[in-house]
């Protein structure tokens, strides 16, 4: 905001980001929580100052004495936290990730938020209409299958229909006495060929997309500039990935047709195009580097089809089916999947899944070693680290409850890989603006970051030149702090909308 008033700031430390770079996974990083954790102090609650509900005041309506106690306390606490946390950065070897990755990112992200992306309201309202029709059609089918109409969105009514009226097997009642109708339960039923379960899943997906995107996004369009300004958090995901809210752009489905339709509503200003630059298979590449798997490394260096290679190694031949399975396994292994999990994904028995996992480890021995070392490390120290030294703590790694412990183990196996890829794209974002400016492309605007993808807006004629710069910056983002043994691939597309750029 002060930027809008033409006011600039000196180098800034951010206590919340410092806390995150020190203690990700140990606790939250909101100021009130940090005050309680480090200072044993409870801050005045915001709602105690402004009230809540219908009578809630804006802060500008709060009396001066009360406002001073509240606001000055926040500054006081921030200073106290800074004095405590800042020296820990170097003592705990977190300086690299703070100074080279996160701190320089803060102004970059703030600028992206201010820039926003243009959204075409008409596309959204047309989609909302279409979704409403499809939802209506699905509802009719569900009611026909159930033999009556009911509120599909009510888990209680749905549970009663499925497990009592229709008498389906395997219903589990939770503590509240209501049948569970969560995704797992419905997927299990759908896999057994229960049509109504599959249809309810479709219904949920569409209503979710309609309410969070096609409807809600229309309200997010700023009347000032016709653009949507998402809010990024540097501390929202434990592995170090950025998260976004209002709207959350990370949750738009990636490869589905509806996902593309929603992306079509994100458009460029007249004369401009949207350019999307996506790291290709970055996590597999980082895994190949971290686990030091020569076969994978060579394949990436040669630009070979990595899933086809895996298919050959595992199944002896490459065809559509074996390649698809190999792809599933490639990603599943990096998420520390269990034999049961993989069996569910591939539709095989747990024993068959275990055989595939064994064979995978046999063929790519580095991966197994990486997993073993990562687990040993996290059990010993309580945290994992990325190649840039970002720590993620896993409190549940020593849990006595097996499912908690195993969940922590799976997350710990993935965290160094996902976290390193997050570090790399963040460095690309920091380097992007100076690199574009140096190439005379200072007017190219970076709009969004979604997972492994960066989205830009630029004049159509600049696409080839800007594409070269963007590709170079992204491919070299790790360097010089870190040299990877595999090249980073970047796929670039451009078009009138985000959907068309894919």
């Amino acid at each position: 905001m002060l930027a809008r008033l033409g006011i600039d700031v000196a180098p800034v430390d951010d206590t919340i980001v410092i806390s995150f770079d020190l203690d990700a996974g140990l606790h939250g990083h909101g100021m009130d929580e940090l005050a309680a954790t480090h200072l044993q102090h409870s801050c005045i609650a915001f709602k105690d100052v402004v009230g809540s509900g219908r009578n809630q005041l804006g802060f500008h309506q709060v009396g001066l004495a009360e406002a001073t106690r509240y606001a000055a306390e926040d500054a006081d606490v921030t200073l106290r936290l800074w004095r405590r946390l800042k020296p820990r950065l170097s003592a705990e070897s977190a300086t690299t990730v703070y100074e080279l990755v996160d701190r320089p990112l803060i102004p970059v992200v703030a600028k992206m938020e201010r820039t926003g992306i243009k959204v075409d309201r008409q596309v959204l309202s047309r989609l909302s209409g279409e979704f409403a029709q499809q939802i209506g059609a699905i509802e009719a089918e569900v009611f026909a299958l159930a033999g009556q109409s009911f509120t599909i969105g009510s888990p209680k009514q749905l549970g009663d229909i499925l497990f009592e009226k229709m008498g389906l097997k395997g219903g589990r009642k939770g503590k509240s006495g209501v049948y569970s109708t969560d995704v797992n339960e419905l997927e299990r039923l759908a896999a057994d060929g229960v049509e109504i379960a599959a249809r309810v899943l479709d219904w949920r997906q569409l209503t979710k997309l309609k309410s969070t995107y096609t409807d809600a996004l229309q309200d997010e369009i700023s009347p000032e500039d016709g653009r949507v300004h998402t809010c990024y958090s540097l501390t929202g995901a434990q592995t170090g990935r950025l998260s976004s809210t209002e709207p959350n752009l990370q949750n738009i489905p990636i490869r589905t047709e509806t996902g593309r339709q929603i992306r079509d509503a994100f458009v460029a200003e007249p004369g401009n195009v949207i350019l999307s630059a996506d790291y290709s298979q970055i996590e597999l590449r980082i895994a190949a580097h971290m686990a030091d798997v020569p076969a994978l490394r060579d394949a990436f260096a040669a630009g070979a089809d990595i899933h086809a290679l895996t298919a050959t190694e595992l199944f002896g031949e490459v065809n559509r089916d074996t390649r698809a399975r190999a792809k599933t396994i490639n990603f599943a292994i990096l998420y520390g999947i269990s034999r049961w999990g993989l069996a569910g994904r591939l539709g095989v028995t747990p024993d068959e899944a275990q055989a595939m996992i064994d064979r995978y480890f046999e063929r790519f021995p580095g991966i197994n070693r990486y997993i073993a070392e990562t687990l040993m490390g996290v059990r010993e120290r309580g945290y994992t680290t990325t190649l840039f030294g970002r720590k993620t703590h896993f409190l549940r790694i020593k849990s006595k409850l097996q499912h908690e412990r195993q969940g922590a183990e799976r997350a710990a196996i993935n965290a160094p890989i996902q976290g390193t890829s997050a570090d790399i794209i963040k460095r690309a974002m920091v380097k992007m603006e100076p690199a574009l400016a140096a190439a005379g492309l200072g007017h190219v605007r970076m709009l969004l970051q979604v997972h492994d993808e960066l989205v830009f807006e630029l004049p159509e004629g600049d696409v080839p030149a800007a594409g070269d710069v963007i590709r170079r910056v992204m491919a070299g983002a790790a360097e010089p702090a870190l040299t990877l043994s595999v090249p980073l691939g970047v796929e670039i597309g451009a078009g009138p909308s985000w959907g068309a750029a894919h």
């Binding site: 000196a10 500008h60 006081d76 200073l79 800074w82 938020e113 700023s222 958090s233």
Partner: protein, 416 residues
């Protein structure tokens, strides 16, 4: 007689970085330049009791951001590549090193280290002191006069007027004219194309100063040199102003307080131990007989409990100025903003709070009183046009921008 040493910290960092191997400390942080800097300060401090050694000392850094020279010429220093990234984390450490030696650490937004050095040097000379500038920077050579020399610690060489004549063909008093003609590709000072140090000094020796050279140009024998001098006369005059050092920067730190009174051991030891600079620790005395425990445990500040009654509401400019001066003297300030919405892209600023030390915090209301016109309403309270809230904010920020660090939070950063 007092002898003030002014260390060109920023200039030193880059030279040390390029000359020294890329060392890493036990925490995995790059510290090559920090090590070089520490040994240099050590060497200077060791000369305390020598005849030409320092009695007073301060280190001057470039503040981040632009200087008044960018207002004269927006291309100034525009071609500089960003510093190497393993040097960036060393910038704050070098300031830490300076504090570990209990030396004043000076910087000022809007001017460069060279201008601060020139201003402090002039103040010391005016009192009859000797001054040594620890640097080998050619711009600073303009300051050389009886009683002031440069000290190039890397080559262990003191530079006086004869060294300037040897290098540039003219004395320090006319060096600025030579530098203006030459230009400087690193700082992007334009100069006149085709003119290097030899031609520049020849022209200045022949004609006296830059204006005389430019005035004589039309009468010179036809050729590239004449054409360039005529075509780029404005660039040369601009360059003359760009290389001129500002001597009248207000001095925040009294030079009397720069006296070296022996260096307290505890902070220096803590710094050396943190970075594992063992050879220096050994010189400090045996490592084992240390009174302070070594290792990486960080002392937790022993702060008093929060006392909300101690906070102050800032309602007039005089009080605000007091807070700003205090923040400035301290070098860092915590900032928090209050807005009327959590959405940083839409929120309106309602107030700003500052904290300088535990329980030393204030709130600056800017938009209280309700309604969209709250800011104006608040302004009416004081009746003075310069008390308009927005002005006050600029006022705060314009000065606060000089502070080395703020401890803010991200939502606030968006506000800022």
């Amino acid at each position: 007689m007092p002898h003030l040493y002014l260390v060109d910290g920023s200039g030193y960092i880059f030279r040390a970085y390029h000359r020294l191997p890329p060392l890493t400390n036990q925490h995995g942080e790059p510290v090559g330049a920090v090590y070089g800097y520490t040994t240099m300060l050590w060497k200077l401090a060791d000369e305390l009791n020598r005849a030409d050694g320092p009695t007073h000392m301060a280190v001057i850094f470039d503040a981040s951001g632009t200087s008044f020279r960018n207002d004269m010429y927006d291309g100034y220093k525009a071609n500089r590549p960003p510093p190497p990234e393993d040097l960036v984390p060393q910038f704050p450490m070098i300031r830490d090193a300076t504090r570990a030696f209990s030396l004043p650490c000076l910087e000022e937004a809007g001017v460069e280290a060279d201008d601060l050095i020139a201003s402090y040097a002039r103040a010391a000379l005016a009192q009859g002191w000797h001054v040594t500038i620890v640097s080998s920077d050619k711009d600073l050579m303009q300051l050389i006069e009886p009683g002031l020399d440069l000290y190039d610690t890397m080559n262990n060489r003191r530079l006086g007027a004869e060294a300037v004549v040897e290098k540039f063909g003219v004395g320090p008093d006319r060096l600025g004219d030579v530098l203006a003609l030459m230009g400087d590709s690193v700082d992007n000072v334009p100069g006149v194309p085709g003119i290097g140090p030899k031609t520049a000094s020849k022209l200045i020796l022949e004609h006296g100063d830059l204006d005389a050279v430019l005035a004589a140009a039309p009468a010179m024998k036809p050729g590239k040199l004449r054409d360039n001098l005529i075509a780029h006369a404005d660039a040369a005059r601009l360059s003359r102003e760009l290389v001129r050092l500002k001597m009248d920067v207000p001095l925040v730190h009294p030079i009397d307080e720069m006296a070296l009174k022996g260096i307290p051991e505890a902070p220096l030891r803590a710094f050396l131990e943190h970075h594992g600079f063992r050879s220096l620790l050994a010189r400090l005395g045996s490592v084992t007989d240390s009174v302070t425990p070594s290792g990486t445990t960080i002392a937790v500040p022993d702060d008093p409990p929060c006392d909300r009654d101690a906070y102050e509401s800032v309602l007039d400019l005089a009080v605000l100025d007091r807070w700003i001066e205090a923040a400035r003297a301290q070098g860092h300030v915590a900032v928090d903003t209050e807005t009327d919405s959590k959405d940083a892209n839409r929120a309106n600023l309602v107030g700003i709070s500052l904290a300088l030390a535990p329980n030393r915090a204030c709130y600056i209301p800017l938009g209280h009183g309700g309604g969209a016109r709250a800011a104006e309403a608040a302004a009416r309270g004081s009746g003075r046009p310069q008390d308009r809230p927005q002005h006050q904010v600029r006022h705060v920020r314009a000065r606060a921008a000089r502070h080395r660090c703020c401890a803010g939070r991200r939502h606030d950063r968006d506000q800022l």
